[in-house]
């Protein structure tokens, strides 16, 4: 039998804002978006500590880190970054969001109230051109992670596709706060794609309390930079 996750949903509970901020209705179509996407291996026991029990770990255990630059959306330009856990649910590939950050108050509100991610505010520095890409992800306490794609090679967009991402959403129920698992649909139409064979992940400052560093890179698998249209949509309950 596969090893199933052992993280209680409550691990992912967040403090909700006292009032729901205003933001444009979802879904948001984000044209000319860019994703920096990296797969890397992590230690299996650590991944299991962060993975909810609905999911089984893969062999080997891995994470998917993706940073999205959305220059246009109904809420204006924004960026978001997610650290996803590679896994299987009902035998099918799945990614579970263990940590997520955005630099937009509107995207944060939409993420918290309708998706489960992004659910933390922070700073995302992002640069990309035809030759390379670089991003630094920071939360309100400072830098967490830096990822560099020094040299890009163009590939056929059809070689790539990204799975949907699941997350735990916190909401107010009749008996107080509740958490529930939510799933999104695959959200990116890829128009241009490039791979990088010498990507790096670095941890600029020690943040041992943060999931971004606890689930740290043990072996980088692959890295891509893709451009296309993203649909930032509400999540739904599984099934």
């Amino acid at each position: 039998m596969p090893d199933f996750g052992r993280a209680k949903h409550a691990k992912y509970a967040i403090d909700l804002p006292t009032s729901k901020p205003e933001y444009p209705a979802l879904p948001w179509t984000c044209a000319d978006a860019t994703i920096l996407n990296v797969y890397f291996e992590v230690r299996k026991e650590i991944l299991l500590d962060w993975l909810p029990p609905e999911y089984g770990r893969t062999v080997p255990a891995y994470c998917r880190l993706f940073v999205v630059d959305n220059p246009q959306s109904p809420a204006g330009s924004f960026r978001d970054a997610t650290l996803g856990l590679g896994s299987r649910m009902s035998m099918m590939p799945a990614i579970f969001a263990a940590a997520s950050i955005t630099n937009s108050r509107a995207a944060l509100a939409a993420g918290i109230f309708e998706r489960g991610y992004a659910n933390a505010f922070g700073k995302i520095e992002f640069e990309a051109d035809r030759t390379g890409a670089h991003a630094i992800i920071s939360d309100e306490k400072g830098p967490l992670l830096e990822v560099t794609l020094p040299l890009l090679q163009t590939i056929e967009p059809s070689r790539l596709a990204y799975d949907h991402v699941d997350a735990i959403k916190t909401s107010r129920g009749d008996n107080g706060m509740k958490t529930e698992l939510m799933v999104t649909a695959p959200d990116f139409k890829i128009e241009h794609a490039a791979i990088c064979k010498n990507a790096r992940i670095e941890y600029p400052t020690e943040r041992p309390e943060s999931a971004w560093q606890i689930l740290n890179n043990r072996n980088l698998v692959s890295a891509q930079l893709v451009r296309g249209t993203r649909t930032f949509a509400a999540a739904r309950l599984p099934g």
């Binding site: 039998m1 596969p2 797969y39 291996e41 089984g56 770990r57 893969t58 062999v59 080997p60 891995y62 998917r64 590679g86 299987r88 009902s90 035998m91 099918m92 590939p93 590939i155 059809s158 070689r159 790539l160 596709a161 990204y162 799975d163 695959p186 794609a193 791979i195 064979k197 072996n219 698998v221 692959s222 891509q224």
Partner: protein, 378 residues
């Protein structure tokens, strides 16, 4: 049509020091029986690091033990991973030749390149290069077997003149196969004149196009070995039960456990976009639980009568042999596995002799697609 069995050597948790030994010992007992009752090939995979799914990393060692305990059954390296950073081609050739000798010429030499990140990444091999590495190896190895002074200066390995020893007993060398799970590899097998070792646990419908392409192209092949091998093995799952209900309960559940474990492996297409692996970087095609438990046509899990019907789909596709996984660790009790093999040999095999198949071919109405398939088993 002929029949074989194959082993992943799955070992489920919790593990003890005895878990793997028990798996190997039971497999050996099954192989001895299979040899006695008419199965003509046994294959063992070469997989690395695939916990629970496969603890079969050294097929030559296991097959050498099987050779000592059997008389007729052919021993398939299914496969030797032909990636120089993992296995130097000269070591592959040496070990295979030695197995051919100690088995009295019963080696079936399967080749391949791995399909999981777990394995390829585990040896720090660039996935983009594995197809080329495999191609270089399969051109070099037959020369190692047949030349007294072998020298090679290729892209992925080179060596000065040496006599690679021992030489195999099969003359000029053992039959060569390649593991096929995609249409591209079926074509590449045919172009190189080597046999197609289907490794997808699929149905006849899944294999139809692969076999048709293979047969068409091999007629014009440029063989990498000293002769052309035009044969196709299909892979499937076998449980020949006492009755339909028992078969579905026991065999279906075991097959489901196998597929569930397989689903937790990380295929290369899943997280490493590469021209060398054609699957996209998201969900790979997996049999769903519903599909497995409904036991699609051609899936040989059932009563002997049902399996005869199912095997006729394979006959219609035109494979030479169906090679079957017969257990997933202890999912089926060992005694039931032995009984399943015996029932299969007693009731199913006699329906697929050359004479019986020729009779059916004569009676069948001629169509473009060959003999008409039997009605779907339920």
């Amino acid at each position: 049509m002929k029949f074989g069995i194959f082993y992943e050597h799955s070992v489920q948790k919790p593990w003890t020091r005895q878990s793997e030994l028990r798996e190997y010992e039971q497999a050996m007992e099954q192989i001895v029986l299979a040899d006695e009752i008419g199965f003509d090939q046994v294959w063992q995979v070469e997989h690395h690091f695939l916990e629970e799914y496969s603890h079969g990393s050294a097929p030559e060692v296991f097959l050498a033990a099987a050779a000592a305990r059997t008389k007729r059954i052919h021993l398939g390296q299914g496969i030797a991973v032909c990636l120089p950073p993992m296995n130097h081609p000269a070591r592959i050739a040496e070990r295979a030749a030695m197995l051919d000798l100690v088995s009295g010429g019963r080696l079936e030499f399967g080749t391949g390149r791995s399909a999981t990140w777990t394995e390829v990444g585990g040896f720090n091999i660039d996935p983009d290069s594995t197809k080329e590495m495999w191609d270089e190896c399969i051109r070099a190895i037959p020369k190692m077997w047949t030349e007294d002074e072998f020298e090679w200066h290729g892209k992925y390995f080179s060596m000065p003149p040496r006599n690679v020893l021992p030489k195999p007993i099969q003359d000029p060398h053992p039959p060569m196969w390649v593991a096929v799970s995609s249409p591209e590899t079926a074509v590449q097998a045919a172009e190189r004149g080597i046999e197609m070792l289907g490794v997808t646990l699929g149905t006849p419908a899944d294999y139809r196009r692969l076999v048709a392409d293979y047969r068409r192209i091999i007629k014009h092949c440029d063989p990498v070995g000293k002769f052309v091998n035009n044969q196709v093995n299909a892979a499937s799952w076998l449980y020949c039960g006492e009755d339909p209900n028992e078969a579905k309960a026991v065999g279906g559940a075991a097959a489901f456990s196998f597929f569930q474990t397989a689903a937790h492996l990380v295929g290369l297409g899943g997280i490493y976009p590469s021209h060398a692996y054609t699957a996209q970087a998201n969900a790979t095609a997996l049999l769903s639980q519903a599909e497995i438990l409904s036991l699609r046509e051609g899936f040989p899990v059932g009563s002997p009568e049902e399996i005869i019907q199912n095997m006729r789909y394979w006959e219609e596709v035109g494979v030479e042999r169906v090679v079957m996984l017969i257990n997933f660790d202890q999912a089926i009790p060992h005694k039931k596995v032995l009984a399943s093999l015996e029932r299969f040999a007693k009731y199913v095999m006699p329906e697929f002799t050359e004479e019986k198949m020729a009779e059916r071919a004569k009676k069948a109405p001629k169509t473009d697609g060959g003999p008409e398939a039997p009605p779907m088993a339920t």
